[in-house]
């Protein structure tokens, strides 16, 4: 630290410049991470939130809700098989709704209507209002983000291309699916909406899109073979099967990966060049008795200090950015995410310094003797 802090202070501008690069990179890393997190939440929150480990789809649907139609009767069969503790059916339907009484078409809202069995483990707890019941009415609980569109409990929603209206009886929180806010309804009424066109149920009795399974260590193949016409995916596979999820996530992860590699190289090269430049100086210090460890510590603590300060500024800037981003933006920062990327950036920076450390160990103290500059 002795050398590290003094050199940082003495060559402020030199280090401020490299620090600035690190600030910008970390800022971008945090924003991308927040964006990735926000997007994946938007895309799959309802799947992520559900308390299930496996999902049964129609055979050949390749883990996609929209491609899969199976019978709800399978729930009983699945429950009966050994490893499954509980099972519940789910259906999804993308729709456009409009608050009843509003004439302006620009107020239309895209939503995911999700059919669940009231009282099953798939029904999310309401934060306001009442949970779903089995009944004759089209009663729904909706994601609280619809409040921003001026929707309240007791309101009714018209569904485009469907005669019945939905009555809002409760709000749930953090539930989105397919990038759209989720609306939960009991399965029977979901079926009426989703299979409104005659024959669209393809003759399946009590059709649903998928059945979520609770139970640890279910043998997927065995279960799929035991019952006709289904395939079984893990929750993770199911999330990856949501249209666009893998692609979005993959793109952002690739950018993050590149950024980390770039930051490693930028910092590594900067300090390596600096080390080359200071080779004579290090030689002199070795001649007067400095060990490799002493010099290595100086450079590692220098990078660590610089990285901590820069990443810290990056975090502050990120939260500043988050504060001014529009509310509708799929941007979700959580502190664990920020913290883990901060640690990754720090580790990458410190690792990149090892090139310089290696160089230092090779500097010969002989350089100090017999030369005039």
């Amino acid at each position: 630290m002795f050398l590290a802090t003094r050199e940082l202070k003495h060559s402020k501008w030199r280090f401020a410049m490299i620090g600035m690069i690190l600030v910008l990179i970390s800022w971008l890393v945090f924003i991308l991470a927040g964006l990735g997190n926000g997007l994946s939440t938007l895309s799959a929150a309802t799947f992520k939130n559900m308390d299930a480990e496996y999902v049964a789809y129609e055979e050949g649907s390749r883990h996609s809700m929209s491609r899969s139609v199976i019978s709800e009767n399978l729930v009983e069969d699945l429950k009966a098989s050994g490893d499954v503790n509980d099972a519940a059916a789910m259906g999804s339907h993308v729709a456009v709704v409009l608050k009843e009484g509003v004439e302006d078409d620009s107020e239309k809202i895209d939503v995911s209507i999700l059919g669940v069995e009231p009282g099953s483990f798939l029904e999310p707890a309401v934060v306001a209002g009442k949970p779903l019941t089995q009944g004759d009415n089209y009663q729904v609980t909706v994601n609280s983000s619809l409040k921003d569109k001026g929707i309240e409990i007791g309101d009714t929603l018209e569904i485009e291309g469907f005669n019945e209206t939905l009555e809002i009886i409760g709000f749930v929180e953090g539930e989105t699916f397919n990038h759209l806010p989720s609306i939960f309804i009991d399965l029977e009424h979901w079926r009426a909406i989703h299979f409104a066109a005659p024959g669209s149920d393809m003759g399946v009795e009590a059709p649903v899109n998928a059945i979520m399974l609770q139970g640890d260590g279910i043998e997927q193949d065995k279960l799929a073979n035991a019952l006709d016409g289904i395939e079984v995916a893990t929750k993770k596979e199911a999330i990856n099967g949501i249209p666009g999820y893998k692609e979005e996530n993959g793109t952002i992860m690739m950018m993050l990966g590149f950024l980390l590699v770039i930051s490693a190289f930028v910092i590594g090269v900067f300090f390596y060049v600096l080390t080359l430049q200071k080779a004579n100086q290090f030689g002199v210090m070795k001649a007067i008795g400095a060990s490799n460890g002493f010099l290595a510590k100086a450079i590692i603590s220098q990078i660590t200090l610089l990285a901590i300060i820069s990443i810290g500024i990056g975090i502050i800037l990120t939260y500043g950015t988050a504060a001014i981003l529009p509310a509708g933006m799929p941007f979700a920062l959580d502190s664990t995410l920020v913290f883990s990327y901060a640690i990754i950036l720090l580790v990458v920076s410190v690792l990149s310094s090892l090139v310089s450390v290696r160089r230092i160990t090779k500097i010969d103290p002989l350089q100090a003797i017999g030369r005039v500059e």
Binding site: K9, H10, Q281, V284, M285, G289, S291, P365, I369, G370
Partner: protein, 227 residues
């Protein structure tokens, strides 16, 4: 015995064709504590090699170098680095100060290499700097010092660990003669009062009056010069 001893030290390099290039040829020399010895020679005569071997920066090909009763040939590189820190004070050339350390820190960094800096170390460093007349420039950086002041800082640094051996590499290079005299006088004075064994490599014949003995080195052979 303390001090520095060379016993039949030879250093040679082998080039690609297998020809031996002898840089130091059977050099023997003893410097006692309290003695300042000058080694002069034209460039390429082997005086830098001589100083590097004395300073444990380079291994002799044959013969023995004994510093304070420690035979250098038997030490590992880690031990050698420790010995340099503890026993040897290097006075390097003017430009070889650490550019981002102020005058006081130039000295304290030597202590830092060993571990913690104590208040006593600070006092000792200030005392040394007072001895070289830099008490008013403790917070100055090398870029703000004159050549003479830089060299005096280097001298003070060499004494910081209270080593028994002082090695000076062209301490008067790039100084005008007035400053050069001051600097060598200072080295001689420190060596006498603190009882160190000192070797100074120089090409500056004006400085010989300060030295106890002067050796001439040519083609790797060391010869005593009659004053």
């Amino acid at each position: 015995m303390s001090g520095i001893q060379f016993k039949n030290v030879t250093k040679y390099y082998q080039d690609g064709a297998g020809t031996k290039l002898t840089v130091l040829d059977n050099v023997s020399l003893t410097v006692q504590p309290g003695e300042l010895v000058a080694v002069i020679g034209p460039s390429g005569s082997g005086k830098s090699t001589f100083l590097s071997i004395a300073g444990a920066l380079l291994q002799a090909s044959s013969g023995e170098v004994i510093i304070n009763n420690t035979n250098l040939t038997q030490l590992s590189s880690k031990q050698v680095s420790k010995l340099r820190l503890d026993e040897i004070g290097f006075i390097v050339q003017t430009s070889n100060l650490v550019p981002y350390l102020n005058v006081l820190d130039q000295l304290l960094v030597v202590k830092k290499m060993k571990g913690k800096i104590t208040a006593a170390d600070k006092a000792f460093a200030k005392d040394l700097l007072k001895g070289v007349g830099l008490e008013g420039k403790l917070k100055k950086y090398p870029e703000h010092l004159s050549g003479g002041e830089r060299q005096r800082t280097a001298i003070a640094r060499a004494f910081m660990n209270n080593p028994d051996i002082i090695l000076a590499d062209e301490p008067t290079a790039s100084l005008d003669s007035k400053r050069a005299f001051e600097v060598v006088e200072l080295i001689a004075d420190f060596v006498k009062t603190r009882n160190k064994a000192a070797i100074m490599v120089t090409h500056d014949e004006r400085m010989f009056s300060y030295c106890d003995r002067v050796y001439h080195i040519n083609d790797g052979k060391l010869k005593l010069v009659e004053k």
